[in-house]
């Protein structure tokens, strides 16, 4: 097997919610908790989970918008988390982010050309006289006319703005792009256009994606492998087909059953989860999913309430963290 492009090892990000009089932490939000993950070159890794499960935090840790509380981010043989900030920036050029909201992530006072040129200028990636050509090339690459460079973001529709965001990420010649719900703010017909564009670009530029989404249906189309997150933990990781055909974790099954059908004749009884996502603040010991788990009674003698099950490989490439599977016990 090839070497992973980037490895997250026991990565954690905790936020302090409350301190006592002496400044000691009394309450902690564990956004990402002891998470390990490898992403291989050229693949699209889909990261799925509900809001508040920490998937965006993982993305932000990768692009150095957050500093991890513990753990390593190994890229190119170097632990980025251990480097001083200045040196880290050199590596972080290779990892770029596409934001969720195309309306909020572009500066309304800058022209589209300036927005795309800024990272090139700041990082001195091109001689000044070639920046213009590069911007035109990038605009064409994302399916926009190079003449649009002098327009402002408000003149574009949501789908076009998202293309500008993609061009801006491409400007850095990244190896890995973290796509944080890039299509969830878009209409269905535009979603398809942007997803296809991302697909084309990955071939053209040899990109690797970490694709973050809250539903399994978008990820199903674009990903090679999928990881399901729940409250800061990965609960299942598997190649796409394996995951959709043979979901093992009760939470994955619930997510799959929440995908709306396309044929009214196939309306089925769903696995409905009770309640909301539990709060990640001061989580109880035991499986994070235990409070909403409908399969909890199925195994006897499981330590669901006492200890988080470890993520173990139950078949090649298929990892699951649930005591229902003999390998985890």
């Amino acid at each position: 097997m090839t070497e992973p492009l980037i490895s997250l090892r026991n990565l954690s990000k905790h936020f302090t919610m409350d301190r006592d009089l002496l400044g000691r932490t009394t309450s902690v939000l564990k956004a990402v908790d002891d998470l390990s993950l490898d992403i291989y070159p050229g693949e699209t890794f889909g990261l799925v989970g509900e809001s508040g499960c920490g998937k965006t935090t993982v993305g932000k840790l990768l692009v150095d918008l957050y500093e991890p509380t513990a753990g390593e981010i190994v890229y190119d043989g170097v632990d980025l988390a251990g480097l001083p900030r200045k040196e880290r920036r050199r590596y972080c050029r290779d990892i770029q982010l596409i934001f969720q909201d195309p309306y909020a992530s572009l500066n309304p006072r800058m022209t589209v050309g300036d927005i795309i040129a800024e990272p090139i200028r700041v990082n001195r990636l091109q001689p000044a006289d070639q920046i213009d050509d590069r911007v035109g090339y990038l605009l064409n690459a994302v399916g926009l006319s190079a003449n649009y460079r002098n327009r402002f973001p408000h003149e574009f529709s949501g789908g076009q703005r998202q293309r500008v965001g993609i061009a801006r990420a491409l400007a850095m010649e990244p190896k890995l792009i973290v796509c944080d719900e890039p299509v969830s703010a878009l209409d269905v017909s535009i979603q398809a256009q942007v997803l296809n564009l991302l697909d084309d670009l990955s071939e053209e530029f040899g990109l690797t994606y970490l694709f973050i989404a809250h539903g399994l249906n978008v990820v199903k189309h674009i990903s090679d492998r999928v990881g399901v997150m729940y409250l800061g933990k990965l609960v299942e990781v598997a190649p796409k087909r394996e995951l959709y055909r043979n979901p093992l974790h009760p939470y994955t099954r619930a997510l799959l059953s929440a995908i709306p059908v396309t044929n009214p004749a196939h309306r089925t009884q769903r696995v409905l989860l009770e309640g909301d996502v539990t709060s990640p603040i001061d989580p109880k010991p035991g499986c994070r999913f235990a409070s909403r788990c409908y399969a909890k009674g199925e195994c006897t003698g499981c330590a669901c309430d006492d200890e988080m099950p470890p993520l173990v490989e139950v078949s090649p490439g298929h990892f699951v963290a649930c005591y229902l599977h003999p390998g985890t016990r």
Binding site: S51, I259, A265
Partner: protein, 414 residues
């Protein structure tokens, strides 16, 4: 759940107020609802020729253009379309909640025989929230941040049901319990910011349902929510419809949600109805190119074995200030013929209550786009004829489909 109690409270409330004739009728409909199919029940809302304009400095946007649809008692009607298709404006027009510069310029909205557009403000206020209520799109912005959930819920209960403060508060707690909020006695004292998105959506739902409406308009009720919460809310709406027998207009851009819960579907594009059909027939045999495109471009519906590209509808929704002269979808349509560019296709009623606004028979050559049409008069000729089955696509076997005129193309697609 405690629905019988809730019904009792309502009955008591309405006899006290003495102004709940429609709710009584509603209950009668509900009783008959299980016997008849949705289309056989009485029509409670009939929208005819509704047009809404926004007059602005830059020009006039015809946000809703001559829209017709009706809702039967106890039925779920889905209105589907992308942003800017006029689906939300249509629903706001029904309730007369439009803000300037929006204005209804033509049409009528008949609710149980009364034209809502002609009603005086006072009477309209009695209908809103009481007989027809609405769940707004964004649960984050539609609740008032400076009032408790109780304040906001009891306001409409007290106004419409004439209950005193204590009874209204009990009813509010009852409703919160009904929508599945745990420990409602405690949550009712909280402010909106103390609740999660899903909880706020439930509060909105509770508010809309608190006066046992006859018709609920749900504008993107699940768009801002996580998939698992979305499934919960949809299940809740289906459950409540069964129990109270209310009709629902479900406004959404998500065809998955439609497939999940609608009886009938109206597809809108650029302010017009382009197709109307029962959910079953629409998903099995979409006839309008736009519907075809929408269905094909939903991600995650295709077989996992294929890694083909998603279908995309080329181009973008046209600028509403500058709509094409003919069919609004023509510039993006792969089936477009010359006539489409200059002439607006009429909305034609086909067999089985289906309606379609298209000159072209998309089922004729399912193999490829832009079918070449034969010039023979019996075929799906692209001529505007006045007969009801006019540009009806020659259609094969299905009885629910349009008029079966036998042509080569019909046989080909069969």
């Amino acid at each position: 759940m405690t629905m019988p109690d809730a019904m009792n409270t309502t009955a008591a409330g309405s006899s006290a107020a003495g102004a709940h004739a429609a709710n009584a009728a509603n209950a009668a409909d509900a009783a008959g609802a299980h016997a008849a199919t949705p289309s056989e029940r009485p029509i409670i809302l009939d929208v005819k020729g509704l047009s809404t304009d926004f007059v602005m400095k830059r020009g006039t946007v015809h946000a809703v253009r001559d829209v017709d649809f009706n809702v039967h008692a106890g039925e779920v009607l889905a209105i589907v379309g992308e942003s800017g298709s006029g689906k939300s404006v249509a629903s706001l027009s029904i309730l007369q909640l439009l803000q300037a510069p929006g204005r209804v310029v033509a049409g009528e909205v008949c609710y149980r025989g009364r034209d809502l557009l002609a009603l005086p403000k006072r009477e309209m206020r009695d209908i809103r929230g009481n007989h027809i209520s609405m769940i707004f799109q964004e649960p984050m912005t539609s609740l008032n941040p400076v009032f408790t959930i109780e304040d906001q819920l009891t306001e409409s209960i007290r106004t419409h049901m004439g209950l005193d403060k204590k009874a209204a508060s009990e009813r509010a707690i009852e409703m919160l319990r009904l929508v599945g909020i745990p420990s409602p006695e405690k949550r009712v004292k909280e402010y909106p910011h103390q609740m999660s998105g899903g909880m706020r959506q439930r509060v909105m739902t509770a508010m809309a349902l608190s006066c046992d409406p006859d018709l609920l308009i749900a504008d993107e009720p699940t768009t801002a929510l996580d998939v698992t919460i979305q499934a919960q809310i949809l299940a809740l709406l289906a459950d409540l419809r069964e129990k109270i027998g209310m009709a629902v207009i479900l406004i959404t851009h998500d065809l998955g949600v439609v497939a999940e819960s609608a009886d009938r579907v109206v597809v809108m594009y650029c302010g017009q109805v382009v197709e109307e059909a029962t959910a079953q027939t629409l998903f099995e045999r979409p006839l309008h190119p736009y519907t075809l495109g929408l269905l094909a471009s939903i991600p995650g519906m295709e077989d996992t074995e294929t890694d083909e590209q998603l279908y995309m509808i080329p181009g973008m929704v046209p600028n509403p200030l500058n709509l094409p002269p003919g069919c609004a979808f023509a510039p993006r349509c792969t089936f477009c013929i010359e006539q489409c560019k200059s002439e607006m296709p009429p909305l034609v009623e086909l067999e089985g209550g289906r309606k379609l606004r298209c000159f072209v028979d998309v089922t004729a050559e399912s193999a490829g786009p832009a079918p070449t049409l034969p010039d023979e008069p019996t075929g799906p000729a692209p001529t505007l004829s006045d007969e009801p089955t006019g540009p009806a696509p020659a259609s094969p076997v299905e009885s629910a489909g349009p008029a079966p005129t036998s042509t080569d193309s019909g046989e080909a697609s069969a």
